[in-house]
Amino acid sequence: MLEKNEITITVNDEEVKCFEGETYYEAITRHGVEIPTLCHEKELKPDGACRVCVIEVERQKTLVSSCNTPVKKGAIVHTESERVKQARIVVIELLLASHRPDCVICEKTGACKVQQLATKYVPETEIKKYRGTRPRINLHENNEFFELNYSACVRCGLCVRAANEIQVCGVLTMTHRGFDTYPSPDFGKTFEEAGCVACGNCVAICPSGALVAHDYKTSSNLSVLDKITSICSYCGVGCQFDMLINRRINKIEYISSNRNNVVNGLALCVKGRYGWDFVHHTDRLNFPLIKKDGIFTESSWEETFDLIEQKFTQIKNESGSNSLAFLTSAKCTNEENYLMQKLARAGFGTNNIDHCARLCHASTVTGLAKAFGSGAMTNSISDLTTQSEVIFIIGSNTTEAHPVIGSKIKHAVAQGISKLIVADPRQIELAEYSEIFLQHRPGSDVALINAMLKVIVDEGLVDEKFIEEKTEGYKEFKETLDKISLELQCKIANVSVENVKEAAILYAQATSASIVYSMGITQHSTGTDNVLSLANLAMITGNIGRPGTGVNPLRGQNNVQGACDVGGLPDVYPGYQKVSNARIKTKFEKAWNVKSLDSKPGLTIVEMMHAANKGKVRGMYIMGENPALSDPNLNHVRESLEKIDFLVVQDIFMTETAKYADVVLPGKSFAEKNGTFTNTERRVQRVRKAVRHVGNRKDDWEILQIMLNRFGIDTDYQSPSDIMNEIAEVSPIYGGINYNRIKNIGLQWPCKDKKHPGTKILHQETFSRGKGKFHTISYIDPAELPDEEYPLILTTGRILYHFHTGEMSRRSKGLHKRRPIERSQINSVDANRLNIEDGDKIFIESRRGKIETVARVTDKIQEGVVFMSFHYKESAANLLTNDALDPLAKIPEFKVCAIKVGKV
């Protein structure tokens, strides 16, 4: 980076200090002088199109636009001279000339930037109302989420720039020239046909009433709305946004971009921006329910708690603490998760606590803890997407599962910052942006990575110094690696040797190379091996501990990182402190004021279900989880839930799981509560209460506190903030975190004390465990491979428009309309052989179950493989999946199972 030289300019007769390279706009507004803008947006490259921001610079022939002109030393600038004012007025009037004249009935009235400019800068005496003609545009876009009314468009080009620079969707361009120019998708296609993923980023940026969202259209006047900043409750990116609330009717009216955050900026994805309406859905649970003779009946909290107390006490007395099991929730806040595990451990004396992290990143936690000493994303979203020379993406369909990170990666590629290597069994969107695309066979990740490691060693691209200084176990690792054959590994992975070589060399030669992965790596019976292999790859090239490097698991749920952090796992207390460590145990006994905690790790999710099936787990408390749809081999799970003597489910909807419950407790959604979520980059962020709850719901933390009190743990938390203070006390990685410090942009753990600024990049000086450890990994087949009877492989995952078991997203109107049913992807060759056409009803059958779905015939998936999402309960993919487990992480193999397919 260039040294920033300080220079001086004169603005309206005052001296202003500024830096070489910045624009007049930046310098002058920082100094406190206002300059109006229309087409300027912090996150976009300046364009200079609207000319609203013109200023007079002495000795320049014409006025200059301040937003895109760099300052010049000694320049004498006027921002309010007659010349500037006149030009500004004319420009603003001209903007309105080709704009429809009906501001009074426009939805954007009040918030429209053009209108605001006119009111503020055009004196009434100067109002001209020039008569222009509007270009004749016979287009109209009106989709599930927003519409484009050309009559209100001032053709500022912002939407096009947002589409190209933020979302990188390539949907919009300015078509035609001269006066006829207007933003539009190619050749009169609809937005969706042109590839629009409805992120609404172009809508958010539109200054006029041209691009408006439907929820915005029906919203009340801005003056009666309150703005509450909170965090998206869908995925682990943890985007910040503003909820616009109408207090009078107690409703969220729409969600708008929040420009002052560091995670996502103004970008959001379709779920975050338009998928919030489940909060007000009529299906929400409003009262505690007790199942009486098979029918749920509304009852009072008192009665419900009495029943729970009686039943759980009875089970505990009859069969011991470990006959109870607890599922905490990656959707709930850190505070709630903390209380849940405290309830299990302190209240009942069992470590049988787990949550769906088991199903997504258990192998990450195990694997990275073994290799590095800490099982979280090593780097941050910001350095990953701005400073990586090469990004190796394996087993992550980033643009659908972590959309905002996906677009940031696309942006990095489009800007020429990063080159991509993509390895995935499916030809995912990012493959189109990649330098090298490796379409390997599902489950062959270890073989592929070993092949890359082999190339790196053979080509002498190993970072000897890094290995020598910072790691251990390299010798043994290399000995085994020397013995394997590159050709064989490539054959297993079904990729060409040349491609693997090219990829390995590209990765190893980069000055900063990062690895991004997700459930394509973890959800295997060899998940931990996969993760360890990636750790090997990063260490052998010294790509760890610096900006733009690292091993970066993208966490799935909004707070799956946090739920793990605060102890929602059977083997660790909050802060990943081992339950088996006697010193730690004593510390928690003291902190929680209990006599004795269990020192044996508890059961994991799938083990709980097995134990329940055998009658060993008799009572279960499930908060905000839906194992009856999310867990593998559903028939078995449902059978187990059936067998449980007393099941308590706390949720916001009557989920598939809740139907099996004896007692259902109505919880609150993210919009109704205070707390914190920790996103994938370890950033603890504030969730804020936006609307009052309706019905007889209770705060989840309050429910848990009552439970704690009833089971003998004396607590007196007044608010979630108190709970966070306790978390900070007992877990060193959260040591310095409290609500005051995370008001705006949050803090990234480890954050040891109140002075600690948080940690952007892990393992900078040394690894968390001291030295990084190489592990010798050999390829093992997936647990179930195709055979004659079940000739195809099924792999599962997410799609953009829905989330997890669909309880929230499928109750969102727009999202549901866009993707109402499951469309399972099958390769055209397979489809042809099976006589299946696109749109046909098909069945898919595995050894564990059979479901019906609709085929999407495509070549984006390789031959022999079928892809299903697991969002739809009518076509529940997990009836088919295999519950074979990774021996260490106990994560099930969602990503590979053998199936047969046919037409219905």
Partner: protein, 323 residues
């Protein structure tokens, strides 16, 4: 391929999109230019070439007696007297086989020769030179050019208001890229104001607005196209302000060029009541009979000059003032 890759490829590798411009002046409209427009839409889709073509309507380009006119850009072919049923032939032959349809070319009234390109037709040639002079008068600023412009203006059948309007129209069609507001919207609003003057609907304040807009265009446009583009108008306003003012004040055009400011009138003393004018008038603007004599209803007149040219007695003249 990513869709944005696609677009960028398109920008560089595919040839420029062709334009079909259909004249929709009043006169051409009466000759079914609407239907022609519609047929083009249908035929290009049938031929599967809709993506490479842009079909739009254009305002009157003159030469109405040969209408409806269809221009093809960028090659510059002009089809005259196009009938809706000719469209299919034009699409198949011109755009699919790349063979322009000769029988629809302009027929030179003197030589009878068929001329393909409108730039080769006298009428447009003349228009073009005047425009060029006006534009060049600014960029080159040679005394000689200004003199020749002054000469032109002084001559009988050129009007500075009309010239300015034509200049702005051509600027909008051919120069402005449409990115920045002063140039894109400014030129259009300026044209609107000049047209107001030309049509006798303007007030004196409009001249100040016009000047203000052009000054802003010059001072605040993003690039030189817009900055220089305003100069000819500013020049015209400075040098010939009286002419502009005269149009506004007296609602007349000294050179009888601004069509809304004069009417075709029949000098009943010269008229022999032959009725030719009524027969040739495409707009049905002439009423009367051989018994009662003829009168021109200026509300319906499109100023096509047909009657004016064909009257055997030269009885039709331009009378100053609004209709």
């Amino acid at each position: 391929m990513a869709s944005n890759n696609n677009t960028s490829n398109n920008n560089t590798s595919t040839p420029m999109i062709r334009q079909i411009l259909i004249c929709e002046g009043k006169n051409c409209l009466s000759s079914k230019s609407d239907e022609i427009h519609k047929n083009f839409g249908i035929e290009v889709v049938r031929a599967g070439i809709q993506e490479d073509l842009d079909i739009s309507l254009t305002s009157c380009q003159g030469l109405c007696e040969h209408g409806p006119l269809v221009f093809v850009k960028p090659e510059g072919t002009l089809y005259c007297k196009v009938k809706p049923e000719d469209v299919k032939k034009i699409v198949r032959s011109h755009f699919v086989q790349e063979k322009p349809v000769k029988e629809l070319f302009y027929e030179d009234p003197k030589t009878g020769e068929r001329i393909e390109k409108y730039t080769d037709i006298e009428f447009f040639k003349k228009q073009k030179t005047i425009l060029n002079i006006l534009a060049d008068s600014v960029s080159q600023k040679t005394a000689e050019l200004i003199n020749s412009l002054d000469g032109l203006i002084a001559s009988e059948n050129v009007c500075i208001v009309d010239l300015t309007a034509n200049y702005l129209l051509s600027f909008i069609l051919n120069e402005s890229c449409g990115k920045c507001v002063p140039c894109r919207d400014g030129s259009l609003v300026a044209l609107g104001l000049v047209q107001k003057i030309r049509n006798g609907e303007a007030e004196l304040e409009d001249l100040d607005d016009l000047e203000q807009i052009c000054l802003t265009m010059k001072d605040a446009s993003l690039c030189e196209v817009g900055q220089n583009g305003a100069e000819p108008v500013l020049y015209a306003l400075k040098q010939f302000r009286v002419d502009f003012e005269e149009h506004i004040r007296t609602l007349s055009c000294r050179s009888n060029v601004c069509t809304k400011l004069y009417t075709y009138t029949i000098n009943q003393d010269l008229c022999i009541k032959c009725g030719i004018c009524k027969r040739v008038c495409p707009a049905g603007a002439i009423i009367g009979s051989r018994e009662t004599g003829f009168k021109i209803n200026c509300d319906r007149c499109t100023y096509c000059q047909m009657c004016f040219r064909r009257c055997p007695k030269g009885a039709i003249y331009k009378s100053r003032g609004k209709c």
